[in-house]
């Protein structure tokens, strides 16, 4: 069980958080203008990387805020934590 440094509350056990899948998938502004394939790309396609992955997490049993986490999925090392809307760090 790893520790996540919530940008609003500080370090807490993983059990206080909910994972929310891949980060930086932006909901299209004009979905009706997309083809089936383009919409499917947004709707269904997610990466599942062994290595450094950008993820959304929610402090569901705490401040209930969503934020982003950069995590190495092979050893759970968390490289960075940043708020929604902030520029992702490069890895």
């Amino acid at each position: 069980m790893f520790i996540i440094n919530c940008p609003f509350c500080g370090e807490r056990d993983q059990s206080e958080f909910k994972a929310g899948g891949e980060a930086h998938i932006i909901r299209p502004k004009q979905p009706t203008e997309l083809s089936d394939d383009e919409w499917a790309e947004y709707l269904f396609m997610r990466k599942n990387i062994k290595g450094v992955q950008f993820e959304r997490w929610n402090h569901i049993h705490g401040c209930r805020k969503w934020f982003n986490v950069v995590r190495n999925t092979s050893n759970d090392e968390i490289k960075a934590v940043y708020k929604m809307g902030e520029k992702p760090p490069s890895y």
Binding site: M1, F2, I3, P31, T32, W39, L43, N58, W66
Partner: protein, 1001 residues
């Protein structure tokens, strides 16, 4: 038979405190401090178990948690019984009753022993090979396989004991209290670190604590007494918490560890009352120091499993710590110096040693010279080739090893004995280290895996790090700790150490014999009865990966997780397949290191604490009025209110009729309620619901359907506009938390520009719903100040009101199709408002109804229940609810998905009504719907989602989903049941009052 082998007071034995216990129905005596194993050995009892597969007699083999054989069932006079307890770990207490497992009728005469003679028919993978065919007989095979497999018997009654969990946060966790662990704990605590020291045994000190020979000295004292003083000192340290009988089960990432603290298992039964049995420690440590020591290796030779064969270090432990001799005619068999330490201990206590067999040819070791001085015959360059005796070892055969160690030469010598100590060298206990993600490296000199790189802030020290001798430990441990803890100096810098161990070792994984391998039983995994022969067979059959060989032969898959034999299995694979050990790697060590009881894992989360349950403010009224309850999410909802021995069907029929004919009352408090405020609240609702919200007037209510982005129905409910920028949304009971989370997600991540605030107010309001033709009359009596005329207060509108001095919100909304009012009031007043309504409705036969009647009434109207009539594959179009999907709105969640190629298919499953040919025939929910039963395979068109007998329509009604259902109106379909086929007709899902006349009746 009952000999006394107690030689002289052992270090931890209190001979003034005698304890009686029973084993296999016979009473024995031991002393305070004994384990069940040491007490049995003191009574010369070696045969304690039968092996798993061949039912061979087995004895106590070790003195710790690595024990593969001596696994017993514990009983007491109450409901407790515990299987698979290691006799080497359980401390005896007055009243202990234990018995052997896996044998029938007794351990002495076991019918299953016949398997031993059938063993040529029981090779590796026997079950896979034999019971594959014919598959139809599997159920018969399974019964016998399950009966003959398995070790102990599970308890049949609820666990009477109490368990708990505790979180511990510390700076430094030290695992293991051998000499390395004690030094580490002392340095850590003395330098200001909040330190926790855990030890799986009842006493501190590891194997050094009973070291009492002139060959091992620290600062001129023998090492045991030196460590004794250190232990006395650390017990006084304020920064240090010490927990004995505490076994670390798991080591996860980020230095999170689970440990089991055993609190009462060693106490007499009557002293355990009211005490916690086990405590699961959830430890988060900034730094972890593993000092878990090492486990002695057995030797792999023919018939190496007879009772009376023990690890040499265990014989030493039994004699030094417990004062117990394991035999009167002892032989030691070794490939390294450790067995000579055992020999010296035996000599000190005056216990007879017949001979020592050493694989090594030339040994320059002070320990060996010391033993030779005592005129003990040492066979150098020899190996044991076989053993004799059935229920106890009686003799061994030895032969000389060839120069390359691959063959035996010369003639066979037989020596009689009643105990054989074996030492195949040492395996560092790296289990926890690798669980944490640590990588190992292979050390060729002594053929061991040792820690290489650490995944977290941790350190392995002492024997588990490959420092196996006293001088290595004292030379290295203080140095590495200084660096790890970042401190300037330790008090252990200038220790004078004398260590007499010669490190030479002659490692032969599978010892040669004069027999062919096929005729031998050289056990590698004692608990699972897998032999060297089985491993070689697996390789011949093409298995290459060690993980596959492990599963095929079951080597290392017992409760001991192969603590003894895994290295030999690897060694034999490496030699046979000609692969380098370091390259081969190890199998994965998984938690728990030693088994945990289920009680420990669940802690206090049992019975009513298993899950929270939520009660409405009116709950007490429901119980007082004999309601049956239904679980909906975590809520307890009134299901129906049986009167005069009614069954559910009768009660529901009565409640449903009353609600339509006069008045019914429902506790709707469990519906999710979300308070929505902000200048963009209307825009927000436009985006999350399928229909339009901007034009909803203040004081009006509207039903909304919420989709997932994939277009599938997610939740529904009525939302009321309380004010210009203020709404209250209701959700389904079970969906409340998820809807709240989903809306928060969109607000925070997709639309942060919207000025909207969400607050969950589900628990803040109690909701009383009164419906039926007389509802208006009843509710006007409860709230006399409010004008309930249809003109002032039409359907789908809301009014603020007061009951007495208390504010409430009244909504005129309906889930039953009847005229219906909902009073929402601060939760504390819920019960009194409910009672007021009951009082006011007395003259109208107001009838409380539960969720079952609610479901029936809404089904008559064809209203869906999300989650019952829908699953995650139904769009609003599939539900024939096109009317609620706005064509004008530019976007809402899920809109684009409603015209994907898949969602516009004509033959999707669509919601329809179903009427049975026989109006009294009630369909079964979940039953399949088909068109043609004669054509095989029968095409499944869909299934029944809701089905009731409607007392108001006097016929059975059902809702179901059917492929292309919309175009099947009036079609005849078939519900094939076990005993008959039921004919149905596809109908409109609205069965009653399609014109909605009753809403204003």
């Amino acid at each position: 038979m009952n000999k006394n082998l107690r030689v002289k007071s052992g270090k931890i034995i209190d001979e003034t405190y005698r304890i009686s216990f029973q084993f296999n129905g016979k009473t024995y005596y031991g002393f305070q401090g004994d384990t069940l194993a040491s007490a049995l050995l003191a009574n010369d009892v070696h045969l304690v178990a039968r092996s798993f597969k061949y039912h061979r007699p087995r004895g106590i083999m070790t003195a710790g948690s690595e024990e593969p054989n001596a696994i017993v069932q514990l009983h007491d006079n109450s409901d407790r019984t515990e299987p698979n307890v290691r006799a080497t770990e359980i401390e005896i207490y007055e009243g202990l009753v234990a018995s052997s497992q896996n044998c029938w009728p007794t351990v002495n005469f076991d019918i299953g022993g016949i398997n031993n003679f059938l063993s040529p028919l029981l090779p590796a993978g026997f079950y896979y090979k034999t019971f594959m065919w014919p598959a139809s007989l599997w159920e018969k095979y399974e019964y016998f396989i399950r009966k003959s497999a398995g070790l102990g018997k599970s308890p049949t009654k609820a666990d009477p004991d109490v368990y708990e969990h505790r979180y511990i946060h510390c700076d430094v966790l030290v695992i293991g209290s051998g000499i390395s662990g004690i030094i580490a704990a002392k340095i850590s605590a003395k330098n200001g670190f909040k330190t926790l020291l855990v030890e799986e045994k009842p006493n501190l000190g590891g194997s050094t604590i009973y070291q009492n020979s002139d060959h091992f000295k620290i600062n001129n004292q023998n090492s045991g007494s030196w460590l004794d003083k250190e232990i006395n000192e650390i017990k006084k340290l304020k920064n240090l918490e010490i927990k004995t009988r505490t076994s670390v089960a798991a080591y996860h990432g980020y230095n999170f560890l689970l440990a089991r603290e055993s609190l009462t298992d060693h106490l007499p039964i009557e002293q355990r009352k009211g005490k916690t049995r086990h405590r699961l420690l959830k430890i988060r440590a900034k730094k972890v120091i593993s000092a878990t020591g090492s486990i002695e290796r057995p030797m792999i030779f023919d018939n190496n499993d007879r009772p009376g064969i023990l690890l040499s270090s265990s014989i030493k432990r039994y004699v030094d710590l417990f004062g117990v001799a394991c035999g009167e005619k002892n032989i030691l068999f070794t490939n390294n110096d450790s067995a000579y330490e055992t020999a010296i201990s035996l000599i000190q206590k005056g216990i007879n040693i017949e001979a020592i067999i050493d694989n090594r040819e030339e040994i320059d070791s002070r320990l060996v010279y010391e033993v030779e001085k005592n005129n003990i015959k040492i066979f150098k360059g020899f190996t044991v080739t076989d053993t004799g005796g059935y229920k106890r070892i009686k003799r061994i055969s030895i032969m000389q090893l060839s120069k390359d160690g691959q063959k035996v030469i010369g003639s066979k010598i037989n020596i009689s004995c009643d105990c054989l100590g074996v030492s195949g060298g040492w395996t560092p206990a790296v289990h926890l280290f690798t669980q944490s993600g640590g990588k190992l490296k292979f050390r060729d000199e002594d053929q061991t895996f040792i820690p290489d790189s650490y995944p977290s802030d941790q350190l392995s020290i002492g024997a588990c790090n490959g420092d196996l001798t006293l001088d290595e430990i004292l030379g290295n441990v203080p140095q590495v700790l200084k660096k790890f803890l970042n401190i300037e100096a330790t008090e252990y810098a200038n220790l004078e150490t004398l260590s007499s161990t010669n490190k030479s070792k002659r490692n032969i994984w599978l010892l040669p014999t004069d027999k062919i391998l096929g005729k031998t039983k050289s056990f590698v995994d004692f608990q699972n009865d897998s032999t060297a022969k089985d491993i070689k067979l697996a390789l011949r059959e093409g298995f290459r990966s060690i993980e596959h060989v492990k599963r095929y032969t079951t080597t290392g898959m017992g409760t001991d997780q192969g603590k003894l034999g895994n290295m030999h299995a690897l060694g034999i694979i490496s030699e046979t397949a000609d692969a380098k050990m370091g390259k081969l790697g190890t199998t994965t060590f998984r938690p728990p290191y030693t088994p945990l009881t289920f009680g420990t894992i669940v802690g206090r989360n049992v019975g009513e604490f298993f899950d929270v349950f939520r009660k409405t403010p009116m709950h007490e009224w429901h119980t007082d009025n004999k309601a049956e309850f239904e679980n909906v999410g975590q809520w307890k909802r009134a299901w129906y209110y049986p009167k005069n021995n009614e069954d559910m069907h009768q009660a529901v029929q009565r409640e449903s009729k009353a609600a339509r004919e006069s008045a019914g009352i429902l506790d709707a408090s469990t519906l999710g309620k979300i308070d929505i405020q902000g200048t963009d609240a209307s825009e927000f609702l436009n985006r999350v619901y399928t229909n339009a919200w901007s034009k909803l007037a203040v004081g009006k209510c509207r039903y909304g359907l919420m989709l997932n982005e994939d277009g599938m129905v997610y939740d529904d409910g009525v939302t009321t506009r309380l004010d210009e920028n203020h709404y209250i949304m209701t959700t389904t009971t079970g969906g409340a938390a998820n809807v709240m989370s989903k809306l928060e997600d969109y607000l925070q991540t997709e639309w942060p520009e919207l000025d909207v605030y969400l607050t969950s107010v589900t628990d803040h309001f109690a909701t009383v719903s009164v419906c039926g033709p007389n509802s208006k009359k009843i509710i006007s009596q409860v709230i006399p100040d409010l004008d309930f005329s249809d003109k002032n207060f039409p359907h789908m509108s809301f009014k603020n009101a007061k009951i007495g001095k208390i504010n409430c919100r009244v909504m005129r909304i309906s889930f039953t199709g009847e005229q219906s009012y909902e009073i929402n009031i601060q939760a504390n007043y819920g019960k009194s408002v409910w009672e007021k309504c009951m009082e006011a409705g007395k003259d109208y036969n107001i009838t409380p109804y539960g969720t079952e009647t609610m479901h029936l009434l809404r089904a008559e109207k064809g209203f869906i229940i999300v989650g019952q009539d829908t699953d995650a594959t139904m769009t609003p179009i599939d539900l024939q609810m096109d009317w609620i999907v706005s064509k004008k709105k530019y976007d809402f969640i899920g809109k684009r998905s409603l015209y994907r190629s898949d969602t516009i298919r004509e033959d999707r499953k669509q919601l329809v009504g179903l009427l049975t040919e026989d109006p009294n025939e009630i369909l079964e929910e979940g039953a399949q719907i088909v068109a043609d039963v004669n054509k095989s395979p029968i095409e499944m068109l869909g299934h029944i989602t809701s089905s009731y007998y409607s007392p108001n329509l006097k016929k059975s009604i059902a809702l179901g989903v059917v492929k292309g259902g919309k175009n099947r109106m009036g079609q005849k379909l078939i519900i094939p049941m076990e005993k008959k086929n039921i004919n149905v007709t596809v109908a409109d899902p609205v069965f009653l009052d399609k014109e909605n006349k009753r809403l204003n009746a």
